[in-house]
Symmetry: C2
Subunit: 188 residues, 2 copies
DNA sequence: ACTCTCATGTAATTAGTTACATGATTAC
DNA sequence: GTAATCATGTAACTAATTACATGAGAGT
Protein backbone atom coordinates (compact mmCIF):
# COMPACT_ATOMS: atom_id res chain seq x y z
CA UNK A 1 0.00 0.00 0.00
CA UNK A 2 2.68 2.49 1.00
CA UNK A 3 4.63 2.10 -2.22
CA UNK A 4 1.47 3.07 -4.03
CA UNK A 5 1.09 6.14 -1.82
CA UNK A 6 4.71 7.14 -2.29
CA UNK A 7 4.28 6.97 -6.08
CA UNK A 8 1.03 8.95 -5.96
CA UNK A 9 2.76 11.50 -3.74
CA UNK A 10 5.64 11.97 -6.15
CA UNK A 11 3.29 12.31 -9.11
CA UNK A 12 1.23 14.81 -7.16
CA UNK A 13 4.20 16.88 -6.04
CA UNK A 14 6.25 17.06 -9.19
CA UNK A 15 3.81 16.22 -11.96
CA UNK A 16 3.75 13.56 -14.67
CA UNK A 17 6.68 11.18 -14.81
CA UNK A 18 7.86 7.87 -16.19
CA UNK A 19 8.80 4.80 -14.18
CA UNK A 20 12.41 5.71 -14.70
CA UNK A 21 11.91 9.24 -13.40
CA UNK A 22 10.10 7.92 -10.35
CA UNK A 23 12.85 5.41 -9.67
CA UNK A 24 15.36 8.29 -9.69
CA UNK A 25 13.24 10.27 -7.28
CA UNK A 26 13.18 7.35 -4.90
CA UNK A 27 16.96 7.49 -4.98
CA UNK A 28 17.11 11.20 -4.26
CA UNK A 29 14.29 13.02 -2.51
CA UNK A 30 12.57 9.99 -1.00
CA UNK A 31 15.75 8.09 -0.21
CA UNK A 32 15.55 8.62 3.54
CA UNK A 33 11.85 8.00 3.79
CA UNK A 34 10.91 5.08 1.56
CA UNK A 35 12.94 2.75 -0.58
CA UNK A 36 11.99 0.95 -3.77
CA UNK A 37 13.82 -0.34 -6.80
CA UNK A 38 12.66 -0.27 -10.40
CA UNK A 39 11.69 -3.94 -10.33
CA UNK A 40 9.08 -3.12 -7.76
CA UNK A 41 8.03 0.20 -9.27
CA UNK A 42 7.23 -0.86 -12.84
CA UNK A 43 4.75 -3.61 -11.92
CA UNK A 44 3.15 -1.39 -9.30
CA UNK A 45 2.61 1.40 -11.83
CA UNK A 46 0.92 -1.10 -14.15
CA UNK A 47 -1.43 -2.18 -11.34
CA UNK A 48 -2.16 1.41 -10.41
CA UNK A 49 -3.02 2.22 -14.02
CA UNK A 50 -5.36 -0.80 -14.06
CA UNK A 51 -7.02 0.61 -10.92
CA UNK A 52 -7.26 4.02 -12.62
CA UNK A 53 -5.29 5.88 -9.98
CA UNK A 54 -2.93 7.00 -12.73
CA UNK A 55 -3.09 7.14 -16.53
CA UNK A 56 -0.64 7.09 -19.38
CA UNK A 57 -1.03 10.60 -20.74
CA UNK A 58 1.81 10.50 -23.21
CA UNK A 59 4.34 8.11 -24.60
CA UNK A 60 7.80 9.53 -25.07
CA UNK A 61 10.83 8.27 -26.93
CA UNK A 62 11.59 4.52 -26.91
CA UNK A 63 8.34 3.41 -25.28
CA UNK A 64 8.71 5.77 -22.36
CA UNK A 65 5.32 5.95 -20.64
CA UNK A 66 4.47 9.18 -18.87
CA UNK A 67 2.08 8.62 -15.99
CA UNK A 68 -0.25 11.27 -14.63
CA UNK A 69 -2.21 11.08 -11.39
CA UNK A 70 -6.00 10.95 -11.80
CA UNK A 71 -8.58 12.46 -9.47
CA UNK A 72 -9.19 8.95 -8.10
CA UNK A 73 -5.48 8.83 -7.33
CA UNK A 74 -5.57 12.21 -5.66
CA UNK A 75 -8.46 11.26 -3.42
CA UNK A 76 -6.83 7.96 -2.51
CA UNK A 77 -3.70 9.87 -1.51
CA UNK A 78 -5.68 12.47 0.40
CA UNK A 79 -7.64 9.81 2.23
CA UNK A 80 -4.45 8.00 3.26
CA UNK A 81 -2.93 11.21 4.60
CA UNK A 82 -5.98 12.32 6.53
CA UNK A 83 -7.53 9.04 7.68
CA UNK A 84 -4.87 6.36 7.91
CA UNK A 85 -2.84 6.04 11.09
CA UNK A 86 0.42 4.16 10.58
CA UNK A 87 1.12 1.44 13.08
CA UNK A 88 4.91 1.92 13.17
CA UNK A 89 5.70 -1.80 12.74
CA UNK A 90 8.69 -2.22 15.01
CA UNK A 91 11.25 -4.02 12.91
CA UNK A 92 14.62 -2.41 13.24
CA UNK A 93 17.87 -4.31 12.99
CA UNK A 94 19.64 -1.59 14.93
CA UNK A 95 17.14 -1.85 17.76
CA UNK A 96 17.60 -5.62 17.68
CA UNK A 97 21.37 -5.32 18.00
CA UNK A 98 20.82 -2.86 20.80
CA UNK A 99 18.46 -5.24 22.53
CA UNK A 100 20.95 -8.09 22.32
CA UNK A 101 23.99 -6.03 23.34
CA UNK A 102 24.12 -7.57 26.83
CA UNK A 103 25.01 -10.92 25.23
CA UNK A 104 28.42 -9.52 24.38
CA UNK A 105 31.21 -8.89 26.83
CA UNK A 106 31.99 -5.27 27.57
CA UNK A 107 34.71 -4.69 24.99
CA UNK A 108 32.63 -6.17 22.20
CA UNK A 109 29.57 -4.25 23.30
CA UNK A 110 31.50 -0.99 23.35
CA UNK A 111 32.87 -1.72 19.88
CA UNK A 112 29.37 -2.41 18.60
CA UNK A 113 27.89 0.79 19.99
CA UNK A 114 30.89 2.78 18.77
CA UNK A 115 30.32 1.43 15.28
CA UNK A 116 26.68 2.46 15.54
CA UNK A 117 27.67 5.90 16.74
CA UNK A 118 29.93 6.41 13.74
CA UNK A 119 27.04 5.40 11.45
CA UNK A 120 24.65 7.78 13.17
CA UNK A 121 27.17 10.59 12.86
CA UNK A 122 27.69 9.90 9.18
CA UNK A 123 23.96 9.89 8.64
CA UNK A 124 23.60 13.16 10.52
CA UNK A 125 26.22 14.84 8.34
CA UNK A 126 24.55 13.48 5.22
CA UNK A 127 21.18 14.87 6.26
CA UNK A 128 22.60 18.22 7.34
CA UNK A 129 24.12 18.55 3.90
CA UNK A 130 20.63 18.25 2.37
CA UNK A 131 19.30 21.18 4.34
CA UNK A 132 18.44 24.19 2.18
CA UNK A 133 20.59 23.30 -0.82
CA UNK A 134 19.46 26.52 -2.53
CA UNK A 135 18.46 28.37 0.58
CA UNK A 136 14.75 27.82 0.08
CA UNK A 137 12.23 25.57 1.76
CA UNK A 138 11.60 22.29 0.02
CA UNK A 139 9.09 19.52 -0.06
CA UNK A 140 10.08 17.05 2.55
CA UNK A 141 11.62 19.57 4.89
CA UNK A 142 9.58 18.31 7.84
CA UNK A 143 10.71 14.78 7.10
CA UNK A 144 14.28 16.03 6.83
CA UNK A 145 13.99 17.84 10.13
CA UNK A 146 12.66 14.68 11.76
CA UNK A 147 15.54 12.67 10.31
CA UNK A 148 18.12 15.16 11.57
CA UNK A 149 16.68 15.16 15.06
CA UNK A 150 16.55 11.40 15.01
CA UNK A 151 20.20 11.09 14.01
CA UNK A 152 21.27 13.62 16.64
CA UNK A 153 19.31 11.76 19.32
CA UNK A 154 20.89 8.48 18.26
CA UNK A 155 24.40 9.93 18.53
CA UNK A 156 23.63 11.11 22.05
CA UNK A 157 22.19 7.73 22.99
CA UNK A 158 25.31 6.00 21.69
CA UNK A 159 27.60 8.34 23.61
CA UNK A 160 25.71 7.75 26.85
CA UNK A 161 25.46 4.01 26.30
CA UNK A 162 29.19 3.68 25.68
CA UNK A 163 29.83 5.56 28.91
CA UNK A 164 27.39 3.34 30.76
CA UNK A 165 28.93 0.16 29.39
CA UNK A 166 32.42 1.30 30.38
CA UNK A 167 31.27 2.35 33.81
CA UNK A 168 29.40 -0.83 34.67
CA UNK A 169 32.46 -2.94 33.83
CA UNK A 170 35.66 -0.88 34.16
CA UNK A 171 38.71 -2.33 32.37
CA UNK A 172 40.83 -2.52 35.55
CA UNK A 173 40.03 -3.27 39.18
CA UNK A 174 40.70 0.30 40.36
CA UNK A 175 38.58 0.72 43.48
CA UNK A 176 39.53 4.36 44.04
CA UNK A 177 36.22 5.74 42.85
CA UNK A 178 33.85 3.05 44.02
CA UNK A 179 31.21 5.51 45.04
CA UNK A 180 28.62 3.91 42.81
CA UNK A 181 27.66 0.27 42.91
CA UNK A 182 28.10 -1.36 39.50
CA UNK A 183 24.80 -2.50 38.07
CA UNK A 184 24.64 -6.27 38.31
CA UNK A 185 23.89 -8.03 35.05
CA UNK A 186 20.83 -10.21 35.11
CA UNK A 187 21.57 -13.79 34.09
CA UNK A 188 19.01 -15.88 32.23
CA UNK B 1 17.74 -13.35 8.63
CA UNK B 2 16.79 -11.04 11.47
CA UNK B 3 13.91 -13.19 12.62
CA UNK B 4 16.41 -16.00 13.00
CA UNK B 5 18.70 -13.76 15.05
CA UNK B 6 15.85 -12.59 17.25
CA UNK B 7 14.92 -16.21 17.97
CA UNK B 8 18.53 -17.16 18.70
CA UNK B 9 18.80 -14.14 20.95
CA UNK B 10 15.73 -15.10 22.97
CA UNK B 11 16.92 -18.68 23.31
CA UNK B 12 20.33 -17.43 24.39
CA UNK B 13 19.00 -14.95 26.93
CA UNK B 14 16.27 -16.94 28.59
CA UNK B 15 17.13 -20.54 27.79
CA UNK B 16 15.21 -23.37 26.12
CA UNK B 17 11.70 -22.63 24.96
CA UNK B 18 8.91 -23.83 22.69
CA UNK B 19 7.52 -22.02 19.67
CA UNK B 20 4.63 -20.93 21.79
CA UNK B 21 6.88 -19.50 24.47
CA UNK B 22 8.90 -17.64 21.89
CA UNK B 23 5.77 -16.22 20.32
CA UNK B 24 4.77 -14.88 23.73
CA UNK B 25 8.18 -13.30 24.20
CA UNK B 26 7.82 -11.51 20.87
CA UNK B 27 4.62 -10.04 22.24
CA UNK B 28 6.25 -8.86 25.44
CA UNK B 29 9.96 -8.16 25.72
CA UNK B 30 10.70 -7.89 22.01
CA UNK B 31 7.47 -6.12 21.11
CA UNK B 32 9.09 -2.75 20.52
CA UNK B 33 12.09 -4.09 18.66
CA UNK B 34 10.99 -6.87 16.33
CA UNK B 35 7.62 -8.26 15.45
CA UNK B 36 6.64 -11.78 14.38
CA UNK B 37 3.59 -13.95 14.65
CA UNK B 38 3.42 -17.68 15.30
CA UNK B 39 2.80 -18.46 11.64
CA UNK B 40 6.21 -17.06 10.86
CA UNK B 41 7.94 -18.45 13.93
CA UNK B 42 7.04 -22.14 13.65
CA UNK B 43 8.37 -22.66 10.12
CA UNK B 44 11.48 -20.65 10.91
CA UNK B 45 12.24 -22.81 13.95
CA UNK B 46 11.93 -25.91 11.77
CA UNK B 47 14.42 -24.46 9.27
CA UNK B 48 16.80 -23.44 12.05
CA UNK B 49 16.67 -26.97 13.47
CA UNK B 50 17.46 -28.32 10.00
CA UNK B 51 20.45 -25.96 9.88
CA UNK B 52 21.47 -27.17 13.36
CA UNK B 53 21.39 -23.75 14.96
CA UNK B 54 18.93 -25.15 17.49
CA UNK B 55 17.90 -28.64 18.60
CA UNK B 56 14.84 -30.24 20.10
CA UNK B 57 16.12 -31.19 23.52
CA UNK B 58 12.86 -32.30 25.03
CA UNK B 59 9.29 -32.85 24.01
CA UNK B 60 6.71 -31.73 26.54
CA UNK B 61 3.00 -32.37 26.82
CA UNK B 62 0.88 -32.50 23.63
CA UNK B 63 3.75 -32.43 21.17
CA UNK B 64 5.34 -29.35 22.68
CA UNK B 65 8.88 -29.14 21.32
CA UNK B 66 11.48 -27.47 23.50
CA UNK B 67 14.23 -25.89 21.45
CA UNK B 68 17.74 -25.24 22.74
CA UNK B 69 20.39 -23.12 21.07
CA UNK B 70 23.45 -25.05 19.83
CA UNK B 71 27.02 -23.79 19.73
CA UNK B 72 26.58 -23.25 15.99
CA UNK B 73 23.62 -21.09 16.88
CA UNK B 74 25.59 -19.16 19.44
CA UNK B 75 28.41 -18.43 17.05
CA UNK B 76 25.98 -17.36 14.32
CA UNK B 77 24.42 -14.95 16.80
CA UNK B 78 27.77 -13.70 18.00
CA UNK B 79 28.97 -13.16 14.46
CA UNK B 80 25.87 -11.19 13.55
CA UNK B 81 26.29 -8.94 16.58
CA UNK B 82 29.97 -8.28 16.07
CA UNK B 83 30.36 -8.30 12.28
CA UNK B 84 27.09 -7.35 10.66
CA UNK B 85 26.27 -3.68 10.16
CA UNK B 86 22.55 -3.06 9.62
CA UNK B 87 21.67 -0.81 6.72
CA UNK B 88 18.63 0.83 8.37
CA UNK B 89 16.32 0.30 5.39
CA UNK B 90 14.35 3.52 5.36
CA UNK B 91 10.74 2.44 5.16
CA UNK B 92 8.62 4.31 7.60
CA UNK B 93 4.98 5.15 7.02
CA UNK B 94 5.20 7.96 9.53
CA UNK B 95 8.15 9.50 7.70
CA UNK B 96 6.20 9.13 4.46
CA UNK B 97 3.21 10.96 5.87
CA UNK B 98 5.59 13.60 7.15
CA UNK B 99 7.19 13.93 3.76
CA UNK B 100 3.83 14.36 2.06
CA UNK B 101 2.41 16.78 4.62
CA UNK B 102 2.80 19.82 2.31
CA UNK B 103 0.16 18.28 0.03
CA UNK B 104 -2.45 19.06 2.64
CA UNK B 105 -3.79 22.48 3.45
CA UNK B 106 -2.71 23.95 6.76
CA UNK B 107 -5.64 22.77 8.88
CA UNK B 108 -5.37 19.21 7.63
CA UNK B 109 -1.61 19.21 8.07
CA UNK B 110 -1.93 20.47 11.63
CA UNK B 111 -4.53 17.79 12.37
CA UNK B 112 -2.23 15.12 10.95
CA UNK B 113 0.78 16.19 12.98
CA UNK B 114 -1.35 16.55 16.10
CA UNK B 115 -2.55 13.00 15.63
CA UNK B 116 1.05 11.88 15.31
CA UNK B 117 2.00 13.80 18.41
CA UNK B 118 -0.70 12.06 20.42
CA UNK B 119 0.60 8.70 19.19
CA UNK B 120 4.18 9.58 20.10
CA UNK B 121 3.07 10.68 23.55
CA UNK B 122 1.15 7.47 24.09
CA UNK B 123 4.14 5.47 23.03
CA UNK B 124 6.39 7.44 25.34
CA UNK B 125 4.13 6.73 28.31
CA UNK B 126 3.98 3.06 27.38
CA UNK B 127 7.76 2.81 27.26
CA UNK B 128 8.27 4.79 30.44
CA UNK B 129 5.98 2.31 32.18
CA UNK B 130 8.33 -0.51 31.18
CA UNK B 131 11.30 1.12 32.86
CA UNK B 132 12.52 -0.78 35.93
CA UNK B 133 9.36 -2.72 36.63
CA UNK B 134 11.02 -4.26 39.68
CA UNK B 135 13.67 -1.61 40.15
CA UNK B 136 16.44 -3.64 38.60
CA UNK B 137 18.26 -3.45 35.28
CA UNK B 138 16.91 -5.72 32.58
CA UNK B 139 17.91 -7.20 29.30
CA UNK B 140 16.88 -4.78 26.65
CA UNK B 141 17.39 -1.69 28.77
CA UNK B 142 19.58 -0.01 26.16
CA UNK B 143 16.94 -0.67 23.54
CA UNK B 144 14.31 0.68 25.90
CA UNK B 145 16.37 3.79 26.54
CA UNK B 146 16.76 4.32 22.81
CA UNK B 147 13.01 3.92 22.32
CA UNK B 148 12.22 6.41 25.07
CA UNK B 149 14.60 9.01 23.66
CA UNK B 150 13.15 8.44 20.22
CA UNK B 151 9.59 8.96 21.41
CA UNK B 152 10.57 12.10 23.32
CA UNK B 153 12.36 13.50 20.28
CA UNK B 154 9.33 12.76 18.11
CA UNK B 155 7.01 14.61 20.50
CA UNK B 156 9.30 17.65 20.35
CA UNK B 157 9.45 17.48 16.59
CA UNK B 158 5.67 17.34 16.38
CA UNK B 159 5.30 20.31 18.71
CA UNK B 160 7.72 22.42 16.68
CA UNK B 161 6.24 21.34 13.38
CA UNK B 162 2.72 22.24 14.46
CA UNK B 163 3.99 25.67 15.47
CA UNK B 164 5.78 26.08 12.15
CA UNK B 165 2.72 25.05 10.17
CA UNK B 166 0.53 27.51 12.05
CA UNK B 167 3.05 30.29 11.68
CA UNK B 168 3.64 29.90 7.96
CA UNK B 169 -0.10 30.11 7.27
CA UNK B 170 -1.86 31.97 10.07
CA UNK B 171 -5.66 31.40 10.25
CA UNK B 172 -6.51 35.10 9.92
CA UNK B 173 -5.02 37.97 7.99
CA UNK B 174 -3.79 39.81 11.09
CA UNK B 175 -0.78 41.85 9.96
CA UNK B 176 0.00 43.25 13.42
CA UNK B 177 2.99 40.97 13.99
CA UNK B 178 4.34 40.66 10.49
CA UNK B 179 7.93 40.92 11.58
CA UNK B 180 8.79 37.65 9.95
CA UNK B 181 8.17 36.88 6.32
CA UNK B 182 6.07 33.74 5.91
CA UNK B 183 7.95 30.99 4.14
CA UNK B 184 6.63 30.71 0.64
CA UNK B 185 5.41 27.25 -0.27
CA UNK B 186 7.06 25.72 -3.30
CA UNK B 187 4.50 24.71 -5.92
CA UNK B 188 5.01 21.61 -8.04
C1' DA C 1 -20.85 -31.37 28.21
C1' DC C 2 -18.85 -27.00 27.29
C1' DT C 3 -15.70 -23.38 26.93
C1' DC C 4 -11.21 -21.26 27.39
C1' DT C 5 -6.50 -21.18 26.81
C1' DC C 6 -2.71 -23.77 25.30
C1' DA C 7 -0.26 -25.26 21.31
C1' DT C 8 1.15 -26.25 16.60
C1' DG C 9 0.85 -26.17 12.26
C1' DT C 10 -0.43 -25.02 6.77
C1' DA C 11 -2.23 -22.15 2.81
C1' DA C 12 -2.85 -18.13 0.24
C1' DT C 13 -1.55 -13.71 -0.61
C1' DT C 14 1.21 -9.45 -0.67
C1' DA C 15 5.64 -7.02 -0.32
C1' DG C 16 10.31 -6.70 -1.24
C1' DT C 17 15.12 -8.24 -3.08
C1' DT C 18 18.32 -9.93 -6.36
C1' DA C 19 19.33 -11.47 -10.66
C1' DC C 20 18.44 -11.84 -15.48
C1' DA C 21 17.36 -9.86 -20.05
C1' DT C 22 16.94 -6.56 -23.70
C1' DG C 23 17.10 -2.66 -26.58
C1' DA C 24 17.58 2.63 -27.67
C1' DT C 25 20.28 6.89 -27.52
C1' DT C 26 24.26 9.73 -26.55
C1' DA C 27 29.07 10.91 -26.12
C1' DC C 28 33.60 9.86 -27.51
C1' DG D 1 32.23 1.31 -33.41
C1' DT D 2 31.96 1.06 -28.61
C1' DA D 3 31.01 2.25 -24.07
C1' DA D 4 27.94 4.58 -20.89
C1' DT D 5 23.63 5.75 -19.60
C1' DC D 6 18.79 5.65 -20.45
C1' DA D 7 14.79 2.83 -20.04
C1' DT D 8 11.69 -1.03 -19.29
C1' DG D 9 10.56 -5.10 -18.13
C1' DT D 10 10.36 -10.45 -16.04
C1' DA D 11 11.75 -14.37 -12.96
C1' DA D 12 13.04 -16.50 -8.83
C1' DC D 13 13.31 -16.12 -4.26
C1' DT D 14 12.73 -14.54 0.64
C1' DA D 15 9.97 -12.21 4.14
C1' DA D 16 5.75 -11.15 6.22
C1' DT D 17 0.51 -11.01 6.84
C1' DT D 18 -3.95 -12.99 7.14
C1' DA D 19 -6.77 -16.66 7.26
C1' DC D 20 -7.73 -21.48 7.89
C1' DA D 21 -7.47 -25.81 10.52
C1' DT D 22 -6.93 -28.88 14.32
C1' DG D 23 -6.54 -30.96 18.67
C1' DA D 24 -5.16 -31.42 23.83
C1' DG D 25 -5.84 -30.15 28.65
C1' DA D 26 -7.99 -27.48 32.44
C1' DG D 27 -11.67 -25.41 34.80
C1' DT D 28 -16.64 -25.08 35.59
Amino acid sequence: MSLRIALLGLLSISGPASGYDLTKRFETSLAHVWQAGHSQIYPELAKMAADELITVEAEGARGRKIYTITSDGRSELHRWLTEYTPTAAPRSEIALQTFLTPLLDTEEAVALVERMKADFEARLQELLALKHPEGKPRYGRYALDLGIRQARMAVEWATDTIADLKESAPPNGDAGHATRAPESPEPS
